[in-house]
Assembly symmetry: C2
Homo-oligomer: 202 residues x 2
DNA sequence: ATATTAGCGTAACAGTCGTTGCGCTAATAT
DNA sequence: ATATTAGCGCAACGACTGTTACGCTAATAT
């Protein structure tokens, strides 16, 4: 039975690792081909498996997408906490710039592109199922915590953290679509300065 | 013949208005159903016509989407210039806030959602054809012009305009996905203050 | 007046879609 | 030892996809 039986006696228990590995492999495929036009047969072929692997672990395609998005969300949450520089020593602006460089260099770009695709679809209300990505809200709360640690009052911290995240995401979008590196990074410089102003203790 | 014959003798000339009306009607449908999962038959049915109307005016589906995106881009450019408040009298911050209220109230929301969906797909490189939306770049240049009109030096104007637009788009995305109006509008207040600081003549 | 094209509906094409049922092996709870 | 389930390949279902061919009317350049 596919939808978790939850209390039924199972002769052979599920191996949760299989599902996790499968999800990671699926995400790998999505970073290259996107979610919008996802098709099960090509996906299965890319995984070197049959489509029944997919329909077995996830009842329906919508369920699969929901599971993938949730898994991706969790992964991003984990990476956020693992970001270097939070534990004092570096200014907030420095963290912003380091994050920018890390995101847009090397092979991280495809994942970033996928995340923007997902957020765009989510904002448009085009994602089936009940899933709503929490990345934006989470990131805002996370940065707000960092601001509070710098002595910024609670409500100001929330507002500035939201603004910082929005600007950061917006600049990424701008760069990804226009490719105008000089213009966007000049704006990033201003944002970094702003972030440092916010954390300059009086 | 569908791809503009360009110089061939045509017994009956094309009526460009038909194409424009068709494009507007298509956009109307897209605001409700999105681009990602666009299908020609449901679209044609929504227009009360046959699919051959679509294949006649646009050779292929990808051509249709490209034409729609270009048309939408042009429409947004026109609206940008028609925005009230540019011709002095109102501060930049006031224009930003007026724009926010105008975008997110009433029946403008579906179009905004569509635009974010498109930008997300564009950033992800998932839009077929050679089309690249110029909305972001255009808006940046437009706001930069406004800043220059306030006496802001050229390079600073470009950087701040890019940052302002990015933050604005990011805040819209945040609100559309999380729905957290209080948090996002508190951040908008900060952005409005920033914009006014930039245009305060020394 | 004639030839040609726009404009559009109808019908069919081959391909792809998500999903389901069947069959099999291997693992494990009882 | 046995029953049951996970895990997965294979094959088929009907629905839907973009696209094409064909036919017809109305408009217009010549």
């Amino acid at each position: 039975m596919n939808p978790d039986p939850e209390g039924v006696v199972m002769a052979r228990p599920r191996d949760p690792q299989r599902r996790t590995e499968l999800l990671d492999a699926i995400i790998g495929h999505l970073t290259a081909h996107g979610v919008a036009g996802l098709s099960l047969r090509p996906l299965a072929q890319a995984l070197g498996r049959s489509t029944s692997v997919l329909t077995h672990h996830f009842a329906t395609k919508d369920d699969l997408i929901a599971a993938v998005l949730e898994h991706l969300d969790q992964r991003q949450r984990d990476r956020l906490q693992a970001l270097p520089g939070w534990e004092e020593g570096r200014s907030l602006g420095a963290v912003v710039r380091a994050s920018w460089d890390w995101h847009l260099t090397g092979d991280h770009l495809p994942l970033i592109r996928l995340l923007h695709e997902i957020e765009g679809l989510a904002a448009a209300g085009r994602l089936t199922g009940a899933y709503v990505p929490t990345m934006l809200g989470d990131r805002a709360e996370f940065v707000a915590e960092a601001l509070r640690a710098h002595g910024v009052p609670d409500d100001v911290a929330r507002a500035n953290a939201t603004l910082l995240n929005a600007a950061y995401a917006g600049l990424q979008l701008d760069y990804l679509t226009t490719g105008d590196k000089a213009r966007v990074e000049a704006a990033l410089d201003r944002l970094v300065d702003l972030a440092d102003e916010w954390t300059r203790r009086p």
